[in-house]
Symmetry: C2
Subunit: 417 residues, 2 copies
């Protein structure tokens, strides 16, 4: 039995995917377009920030151990406007947050602790420490420091750092070009009324949203034709124009499972079936320079298969780190029956008042029941042990969304508020 | 002292924001454009799904208590192609996953448990239960059931449900139109070399990415002019063309804090200062139909202020539910000094092997140090009690990203794999 026919555990399937997929090329984009892209090179500080000692409060720049009862105001030092003065004993300079400390000064007294009389200021604070309310050179970052590792998704803080360091152009991984193709005689478009035995195509829409959320550029989506020859032509065309082609349907063992046969014919199939639930039939193939993921037709299987396997491939192709999520441990709130395959149950995980993660599933776990994904912020990983996991037992879970406190919490939103 | 001058706890500031902001209008978009939008009306099932009893496996549709040693294959029932046959004792119909069960049949035997000889099939499974491998009518959803509450962000599962129910058009909240304006004499663009006392503008880029991630349509971003009259004109123009204007800088108590004075002049200021760290100076004002958030110039203060207050306003404006995150409880890994204001420390939260959430902060919490946000998946909420919080004590945290297991975990990625 070859690897392609074995029921593969998801870990082995992921190993194969990570071995097969290649990194996409790097491209340089203007800073303003770098948001949510994957940084291709580490960001290393090529300078100290701040480059000058800067005030952290609005107030007066002084010499900390100057004991003069009042001081002459010799300058106004605003951020962005440098005056060349020197603070000496008996003098002070007005200064605003972020402005450079004038020569001679070594501390800033906040405006609330001063009293201004004409061109003089009285310092009302008894004890001024050297460096008080001053951000020294290099306090925020030091030349040579690795600030952001390659493979990081560029969010608000990352783009802010890139801007601070003058990176007007940023090297990022090209977005994966993805095509989404649903197959199946029984499918009609959402605006059509299904006839006897027909259902509306939902996977195409689900997979487009999932692919965009994973950072892909969805270049095409549609329903595949019913006959083998046209489907083969569409698939070849999509593979020529995409990095990744997602199909749904046509991969189980029935006679009309066209995708299976076409992939065997036009490409190299790496595996076909997974030892997981939902999503046992799952093809992964190379066709030319493209990768084809043949997802199951069941809507839940398609989404779970995307998140566990396809999203991993996309992260690997863009060099995103970490490439795999690290599961957490959670305490079950109710009994869960395990099956004959590893099960990715859709669940809700929250933290109780002691900070312990607790989990329940979302009810019936049928792989056609999209409702099992609504409100599910986690996949509960139920090992294939054919036994009951009891309420109070611990299992592992992959978290999909930020978790929250328990719904029946104390209601307070902030501490000490 | 009016409310605008008091140091407001963040909870009170949020109450004011939620009282002031109005819901944006609802618009109807094609299904394919509904991803990541906020659903404006609950999705209620207007039909049962599946609408017919459907096979969940490829195999043969049979009568469960038929004891015939072999059965005539009377039809091929593919998904999407309904044949009008009736399964009677001594007969069976070939059937594929998702196809409707023919009349008379009440169970499906998987193809692996059958043996086909010419036009006959032998059922190798001893005991067939009625309904086995059949999804009954309404198993996935029942007419009248509320499937998705209004205010839900439309993800892969939600759009799949909308498609399944034939919603080719979807009512969603209009995206908030947001303008982003940085102010400050000391700022230069990222491609410019800062002169003495100058720094590069980073907040504009951070706030654009943050606003987009929060679902906004960023209609404009730029640096404000230095003189009061031009700045006032730009601000009025932005307010006329935006639902929300974000400014950064110009809000502390120094003499050049232009935004404070302009907002007083052109609009109604609801509050100016918050009892929180970072982000004490923080303005919220109404100018015509627009809301202005005057964020501090410090990069960390701007991002934290955005996430805690502006993102909340945007959720309220689009009707997103829940509007506020529920903090979790976490165990501190190290001592943390509390200050005189509620502090939103940037931190890393993970779950240990027992499922307990543990937290550390990201080092120096200076509000100019963007590095404190890199890798921070949470804000640790440190109450203003002027005491040391010790390692092992519990505090609360707002989780920003999906949490993971501890880095030094057992390395296993799946159970039983």
């Amino acid at each position: 039995m070859t690897v392609t026919d074995r029921l593969l555990p998801p870990t082995q399937a992921i190993e194969i995917i990570l071995r097969e997929v290649r990194r996409l090329p790097v491209e340089v984009v203007p800073l303003a377009e770098a948001g949510d892209r994957v940084l291709a090179e580490p960001l290393v500080a090529d300078q100290d920030l701040p480059p000058f000692p800067a005030a952290t409060m609005d107030g007066f720049a002084v010499i900390h151990d100057d004991t003069s009862p009042w001081r002459e105001i010799i300058a106004d030092q605003f951020a962005g406007q440098v005056v060349d003065v020197e603070v000496t004993p008996g003098t002070a300079a007005r200064i605003t947050t972020g402005a450079p400390l004038p020569r001679g000064a070594d501390a800033v007294v906040p405006v609330e602790r001063t009293e201004v009389r004409d061109d003089h200021v009285i310092i009302l604070q008894d004890d001024v420490r050297p460096g008080e309310n001053v951000r020294p050179v290099g306090a925020d970052l030091r030349r040579g420091e690795v600030l952001i590792p390659a493979g990081t998704v560029i969010g608000p803080a990352e783009i802010g750092l890139l801007a601070s360091l003058g990176r007007a152009q940023v090297a990022v991984s090209r977005r994966p070009r993805v095509s989404v193709l649903s197959t199946g005689d029984e499918l009609v478009d959402p605006d059509q009324e299904p006839g006897p035995g027909q259902i509306r195509d939902s996977n195409r829409f689900s997979l487009v949203v999932a692919a965009r959320r994973a950072g892909a550029d969805v270049v095409w989506s549609g329903r595949g034709p019913d006959d083998a020859e046209s489907l083969r032509r569409v698939l070849l065309e999509r593979c020529a124009e995409s990095d990744v082609v997602l199909t749904s349907g046509g991969v189980s063992v029935g006679e009309k499972d066209l995708i299976t046969r076409i992939l065997d014919d036009i490409g190299t199939v790496h595996f076909r079936r997974l030892f997981m639930k939902p999503g046992k039939p799952f093809h992964f193939a190379s066709v030319g320079q493209a990768y084809v993921f043949g997802l199951p037709g069941n809507p839940v299987s398609a989404i779970v298969g995307f998140e566990i396997l396809v999203a991993t491939a996309l992260r690997a192709m863009t060099g995103q780190q970490p490439v795999l999520p690290r599961p957490v441990t959670v305490v079950l709130e109710h009994d869960v029956e395990s099956g004959d395959r590893i099960e990715y149950q859709r669940g809700v995980v929250w933290a109780d008042g002691e900070g312990v993660l607790r989990a329940r599933n979302t009810g019936s776990q049928s792989s056609a029941r999209l409702m099992s994904l609504i409100g599910a912020n986690a996949f509960l990983l139920i090992p294939p042990r054919d036994r009951l996991y009891r309420a109070g037992e611990r299992v592992r879970a992959i978290i999909r969304e930020p978790i929250e406190g328990q719904p029946e919490g104390d209601g307070g939103w902030e501490p000490g508020g």
